[in-house]
Amino acid sequence: MKFRTVMRHFREGLKNIGRNGWMTVASVGAVTTTLILVGAFLALMLNLNQMADNIEQDVEITTLIDLTLNEEEITNLGNEIEELNGVETVSFSSKDDELAKLIESMGDEGRSWELFEQDNPLNHVYVVKTTDPEDTIDVADQISEMDGVQEVNYGKGVVERLFTFNKYARNIGLALIIGLVFTAIFLISNTIKITIMARSREIGIMKLVGATNGFIRWPFFIEGLMLGILGSIIPIGVILTGYYYLANNVSDRISYSFVEVLPFNPFAWQLSLIILGIGAFIGIWGSVMSVRKFLKV
């Protein structure tokens, strides 16, 4: 294909956007509506996913070290834990640190515990984090069987349920996103198909005048791409503005450590890029697939 023909296809594709007036408006409208839905849902799901991740990251194993162990034995135990599969970090927290944390966490009531500073009844502790939070239970079981370990705490029962819940939530979210994207593809390509059906006669004429399928298809490709891009503008605007507001307000008002929305930069931009990509893809796909039907003249 000659360069000037490529340019011709570009020109024609862009001109068609104007020539088809209301049909263009209908297609762009369909893209816009569905992409706003997809975008909002994606933002929600990705944030919930992030929160689930945050919760899982907070899961740690508190290993209470037997009071009878001497310093060397404690160090050895630490090394032993570190060597376990799936362990990311092992940090030592002395019983004095533990008491200080306890006092701090209890606020005014914690003052009564200050009496114990002379004769601290708490244990030294190893705080263990696993690389994959799902390994927590496994690792905790192994640690609990080691000599010199008095007790292992990781929120048994709660953690298992949390992981199961997160797993289901993620799968359902993923299924919903896939479903929504497919619905979007279906809706948009149908709208585009209707607008192209109205032009099936034109496609037939082009063929009778000697145009190859490729020659006819390219301007439609460009037109579909443009419809997708035009249709993404408003959704991207809505998402950038909406997310900017959300990111600046929600995080400040809700102070649970895990409720932390993904930062506006880069998340909102990445999401915009995804929306633009989906829009362009659906536009091209809908348009090229619809033309294909009418090329057999």
């Binding site: 294909m1 000659k2 000037r4 023909t5 011709r8 020539r19 088809n20 034109e202 037939g204 004429i205 082009m206 063929k207 009778l208 005048v209 000697g210 145009a211 190859t212 020659f215 003249v297």
Partner: protein
Amino acid sequence: MILMNDVYKTYPNGVTALNGVNVDIKQGEFVYVVGPSGAGKSTFIKLIYREVKPSKGSILINEMNMSELKEKKVPLLRRDIGVIFQDFKLLPKLTVYENIAFALEVIEESPKKIRNRVMEVLDLVGLKNKARFIPDELSGGEQQRVSIARAIVNNPKIVIADEPTGNLDPDTSWGIMKTFEEINARGTTILMATHSKEIVNTIKKRVIAIEDGLIVRDEHRGEYGYEV
């Protein structure tokens, strides 16, 4: 140039349009195709530019065998055949200029050549001042002339016209016929289906008469032969 050997055409709905047609049209001939409505003239013409395929028999156009012609090669065949359709088949959203230029764009001509050539044929059909109009803004006769301009713009080897003067006033009709004679004189084969007794009997050329899907008459410098 156009060679048909025992050609049959039956449509999927069971209607038989051609019933064993044999014809040989040489390069540079001017041929009228006459006959009553529904006799098979349009099918005869459509077979040439491959809008329909024969049910049986062989067709050779420009040395291309229609039964062996691959779908991909059909555009190449059509670029050598300028067709003037009864219903014009103009692209409704393109201007007169763009409609005609389209036939040159598909063969990737240079913009300069396209511009010159389109203006040339517009002049020939007398529509130079309507280049920027869209088909809906033109009269039937003017649309017909755009269709003619598009058919001849890339100097095809064959020009096929299905009732090209059917919608035109007598003056324009004779003008169009003059154009056909001019391009025929340059060596282009012309095949024209018509109901115009006056034209056929005045500008004498070869006449092929089709009735009930068969060629019933094939005369050089023939007459229209039907009562109007």
